[in-house]
Amino acid sequence: MKRRTFLAAAGLALIPATSWAHGPTRQKVTLTTEVAASPEEVWEMIGNFQDMSWHPAVFATNGEGSNEIDATRILTLGQEGGPTITEILYKYSAEKMSYSYRITEVAVEVLPVTNYSSHLTVKTRDGGGSIIEWRGAFYRGYPNNDPPEELNDEAAIAAVTAVYQAGLEALAERFGAAGS
């Protein structure tokens, strides 16, 4: 393990300073969960860009700009003083119960992605309840050719999938599974 960490650090030193560089293949992840609560009830919980306390990994949300376009938030993960992710809101519709945001700053050691954008949407489920959909588009953490294992396409997909899964599972627990 030690050796791999060292190799990764050596590789990281080669990344050009520009944060806009990215790998050759954009990845996408879509996860959904179905819950018993109404879309209005779910949106009430998750529709505020300035409050991501519904996600178990998020310790604190600090931001400005409410739910206006270009609003920002800094998510602190895990605990006080934990790693942070800075995000910006670029689309918001209470009517459609959907918002879209981008990550403007994150260390690849925290989330091994670059150029990340995401949408969170609540839809009406046929037969009652809601469908919560979370989708993201992003490049791997390593912008150059031949990425180290922990910064390759697969690592990026696995990390984003884990974030979405944890969030959606917490919502399913809170709002109950949708009936059939």
Partner: protein, 313 residues
Amino acid sequence: MRRAHKVVVVLAILLPAPAAGDIAYITCQNGEELSLIDLASAREIDRWHLPGKPAGIAAGGDALFTVSPGSKMVRRLSRGGGVFAEVTLEGGPTGVALDAARGRLFVSDWYNARLWVLDSDTLATVMELPTGPSPAGIALSEDGRFLASAEKDADQVSVFDAASLEPLRRITVGTRPFGLRFAPTGLLFVGNVGSNDVSVLDVATGKTRATIPVGERPYGVAFAGARAFVTDQYANTVSVIDLETLTRETTIDVGEYPEGIDVTPDGQSVVVANWFDNTVSVIDPNGLTVLNTIETCDGPRAFGRFVLGGGHQ
């Protein structure tokens, strides 16, 4: 990759005369497939396995040139799906453009600030042209005089004499240019993903004629009639630009993450690949409406010229 042949032939016989037609060849990067969309019947007629995360494409003459950055492979395919030639290019092959008249294929190297010049028949490297950092889209002017490449990390476009391959000039554009194409008028349209605008350049003089605000993250440009059509990746729209006034006329809603955009030879259909939705939108460039939305393979990029007219061979 050869199984498509029969299907194409059968359709060509069965379809009515005006439909003997135009095919959009859509590179699907995530699904590693090439999707064949028959534009007359508005449906997908086949998919070919195309490994290595393909994105770039140049359809021209009777061939398709594809670039798979994942495996660093450039291929020349027949319209029936046969592989005529393939070559591995060490670096980051990304954008591709064909100069059919001179038998040259240009491929940008995202990682090494150069264009490869390949023999379009054998795909052997003939020479290399230095560019600014992170060259992406490449375009050839319709009259065959100029070759241009968008250099994302230099905020510039390099212009070459397409005949002699001598560098002519470098023109500063907006922030992080990626896709570009020459209009029938000869002006070069460059999408700047960082500044959300399109630079309109006169490459002969190096002058910027206009900088046109469009939707977020402009990616690709195509032309039909007296208009330019620009895909706005983050806005899920196509911006419509009037070629006379060089201003944005309107936007058209398409699918999520629109990327590659091209036009049929008759100028009557503009075709857009929606990367997130796995669909293709077909736009009427006169009525400015979406005529059809067609399912395709996973992660369509179609970065380059991807429509070939049919029935004239």
